[in-house]
Symmetry: C2
């Protein structure tokens, strides 16, 4: 098992009989997934994906990644929400949050089309100057504003630089398999295309072409990533709160939520986990935050944020619980140097590996926060490998589905995301929104 749930730090917050009482609810959630009869059951494609994925496309992704690695200095991934968070999370986690600044034999990778900002797009255009560029645009419909704008800009850049024919070799499109204007246009132009499956929502799409192509370009072993997810799928398919840690995690969340712990803080202990935290926040926030309910997902990186949000967690409002991710074998050692001067008084830990110090800091923090009244769920991940990453991704995905069903929501829709878009289109004067425009403008006066 690459991922293990340790519930020692829930003692005093969750009692054994609560696990017993919640079994029937868990069973109900489990059956909705297995029988595919729950709300949103059109979007369960991710469940069997680690086994059933398209092997032919997978092979093409690896070929494309090699081609991209050879032909560019800068690889631009264009997408928003689920179309960028998974890839970015995995790349930063397994490579580095400073990926673009370390020595490597893979291209720099930038994420575009995930905001509406003149500054960020102008800056990226400048960063590309004098460098070879490839792009991967990821959009199911091809009409989402942010990636569509970025695709206009960077497709234009490539066509100007390499000609329409040359650009064709540098544009990789991940979109609907048949419908949509982007698919039609890509076929017409002869772009290499990959599929956003119909039955996998954006936030569950990291193990499809959406995430896999950028992840492969970063030099990450996507076979191992999928194998980890496949093994997790097996481990987490049984309806047993004792042995299925993903189900147990979902049950604990439900128990804590129902006793007023309505904010969950995902805590990592390495700065490379920051974007993974963001991926988690989309997965859970978008799946459960609806119908005026749901656990609010927040995140921190320790020990960094022990000197920031740490005070609040230790001693603020007691509506919090923490889920702590510990990487057991980080793969890198670094001993604290001995210092003859000992000005900082730290010679008692000289020659100690920072991994040891970090582990003890984590244990000290777990106990301190528990003493402060914050239930802590500890998730122990074996190592910082693609295999464990795939395992952990699947852990959180299946737990999210179960948790959403236990909360009584449809974990697979996101009706609230449309509200701002409609208003924006109306204010921008999009044809068809004329009535709404006048009404909104009156409210803004």
């Amino acid at each position: 098992m690459s991922v293990k749930l340790n519930d020692k730090y829930l003692s005093g917050f969750v009692s054994q009989h609560e696990y017993d009482c919640i079994r029937p609810l868990l069973t109900s959630a489990h059956e909705q997934i297995v029988n595919r009869n729950g709300a949103g059951n059109d979007f369960l494609g991710w469940v069997d994906l680690p086994e059933n994925y398209d092997k032919e496309e997978f092979a093409r992704i690896k070929v494309a990644a090699e081609k991209i690695k050879k032909s560019c200095d800068v690889f631009i991934v264009i997408g928003i929400g689920g179309s960028y968070l998974g890839a970015r999370a995995v790349i930063e986690f397994l490579k580095s949050p400073n990926y673009n600044n370390i020595k490597k034999d893979t291209p720099d990778i930038y994420f575009a089309g995930c905001d509406i900002s003149a500054a960020s797009i102008a800056e990226l255009v400048e960063i590309c100057e004098g460098r070879d560029v490839c792009i991967n645009v990821i959009s199911k419909s091809g009409t989402t504003t942010e990636p569509a704008v970025a695709f206009r800009v960077f497709r234009g850049m490539l066509e100007k630089k390499y000609g329409v024919e040359g650009a064709k070799e540098r544009i990789f499109v991940t979109t609907d398999k048949a419908r949509g204007t982007l698919k039609g246009f890509s076929d017409k132009m002869g772009y290499d295309t990959y599929v956003v499956p119909d039955d996998v929502g954006g936030r569950f799409s990291v193990l499809t072409a959406v995430g896999l192509l950028p992840i492969a370009v970063a030099g990450i072993d996507i076979d191992a990533l999928m194998q980890g997810a496949a093994d997790a799928r097996k481990a987490y398919s049984v309806n047993d709160i004792e042995t299925n840690d993903a189900y147990r995690y979902a049950a604990i969340r439900n128990i804590l939520y129902n006793k007023g712990k309505t904010t969950e803080i995902l805590a990592g202990y390495e700065s490379y986990a920051r974007m993974f935290n963001e991926w988690f926040k989309q997965l859970y926030g978008e799946s459960e935050g609806k119908d005026q309910k749901g656990i609010f997902p927040a995140s921190v990186i320790f020990s960094t944020d022990l000197h920031s949000l740490g005070q609040y967690i230790q001693d603020g409002m007691r509506n919090l619980f923490e889920t702590v991710i510990s990487i057991e074998d980080t793969g890198v050692s670094f001993n604290i140097p001995y210092d003859e001067e000992n000005i900082d008084g730290l010679n008692f830990v000289a020659n100690t590996d920072l991994n040891t110090v970090k582990k003890l800091a984590m244990q000290g923090t777990l106990l301190a926060h528990v003493d402060g009244g914050v239930p802590n769920i500890l998730i122990e991940v074996a190592d910082r490998s693609a295999y464990s990453m795939g395992y952990l991704i699947y852990f959180f995905e299946i737990a999210c589905a179960v948790s959403g069903y236990m909360l009584g929501v449809n974990p697979f829709n996101q009706p609230g995301v449309e509200a701002y878009k409609k208003n924006m289109f109306a204010l921008l004067g999009k044809p068809g929104y004329e009535d709404m425009k006048a009404e909104l403008e009156a409210r803004l006066k």
Copy 2:
């Protein structure tokens, strides 16, 4: 006024008579600051700092910044919590979140000593290979574990590379003005030293040498930064809820908190504001999160996170309010290109500046979230300048102090930060913690 509070989007959530009723509480908070007789009044040095700062030291900071710019490719800032968040926030906000990847005539800047990670310190050592390096260690006592370890490592690196004498020219120390082992050691070695004032807590220290030296190295006009803060100080010194926007912001927070809006989401619309959000979270979380109360500070960057936490904000638990920061003049334009194919259907906004699209997206989001039941406070910042940055920093600082006093807490201490440290020291076997060690280890078994 570089910063303006717009309370239009509170309509329906806060009534006029609530402002009237809260005046006496505001007056009480105001008087605790002016008369310096409230809890934590030893730490009010930041109030008059924009006028009363040490001009001689300020001049030395500018000289040191020039020296650093000339003599290194990589500048490492070593500090944790308030000793790094302010500088990093300002540098990313005014320069770029990709500061180390853009073309510039200033050194790359890395932040170290803000975590306990073998991976991050080993990576930075590698990044420094073959490049000239200067460091600025920021620690009042010199004994905080994270920066102390980093200082051991990078001082060692410099002494090995340049010799003890050569390293002296590359080590800049910001610490206590007289006490502490780091000060003593720096004087002995002849390092250039700067002061962490006694009466300014870490989270309020960005406008002291703590923040100013790294900010100046990034090529930011620190005179303008201080002038903005000085003008804000004047504007926010009057006890008037109608004209003092900082006080009005503090009052609104208190009103919303008392009606169950216990989580505040700071929302920026530019990715360069991400670290400013983190600075804000420390400032408010550490100042107010105590005695089992306080608003929980969270953050997002829109439109990015409208495709992530947006669903929750629109439609999840209704214990949220948002504080939205809008940069009115971003200083950069970028028009959406016209596309003959119009595959994305966006030609109705072709040739429109992204700033316009962003503004309308923001207005559409404000209305959508208000309709969803989330009170929104809009803070309009004139531009992306050092002057406005200083103004905004002071706005949040003074509002935080007032807000903390209105909540009935000491806004200037952070007793909860010690809890994990004590446990960590005990587990690490620090002399003097022997009894605690055995007890903790028993609990961890």
